[in-house]
């Protein structure tokens, strides 16, 4: 993504364990409700993008926030999950929604 954008420095790298913040602010939130509070592993850094929560309120969304693909074990996310132990769900989550776990 555009290198000229003011960007927040990435805090995580592939393999880091992270917890998704469990909060419920108003507005346009791209972090699904069902994953908030769960612990996963950074699969990759996808780049940095203007913050959609700010864009939705007609502001610039800058500085751009790093976006990660985060991998969660399905059996951790869904208590009644019946599939394989190794099944995962991958979700793209902005850095400001993640804390080190």
């Amino acid at each position: 993504m555009s290198a000229q954008l003011a960007t927040v420095a990435p805090r995580f790298k592939a393999g880091d364990r992270v917890r998704v913040r469990k909060t419920a602010p108003l507005g346009h939130i791209r972090t699904p409700y069902y994953i908030r509070g769960h612990v996963g592993e950074i699969e990759r850094l996808c780049g940095a993008f203007p913050n959609p929560e700010e864009l939705a309120q007609m502001r610039s969304g800058l500085p751009a926030q790093p976006l990660y693909r985060v991998r969660f074990k399905q059996k951790d996310v869904w208590p009644d999950y019946r599939g394989s132990e190794t099944d995962v769900v991958e979700i793209e989550i902005f850095q400001h929604w993640l804390e080190r776990a």
Binding site: A24, L26, H28, I29, Y33, A56, M58
Partner: protein
Amino acid sequence: MIERGHHDMGGLPAGEVERTEHDYPQWQRRVDAMVQLLRIGKKITVDELRKNIEMLPPAAYDQLAYYEKWISSLTQTLIQRGIITTEELGRKMEQVERRVR
């Protein structure tokens, strides 16, 4: 506080996904074209549109079809942006109403 937005349905019980293809009536194509042109022309962002869809009252969210949600949200966005006024919109709607009656 709203803990979980009505639209944020991931993981909730739901019916079967309907996998049939269907044709798009002309008005839906027009809505799509308007959204794309306004977005490309940087008059609006897709994030504002999403926010305004998510702000629909739950009953309207469930009842409106896909492009009905889009046109409702696009209208809200254009008013918020000051591109149209409610006065202009109301007058135009009366005009169209008279034309089709």
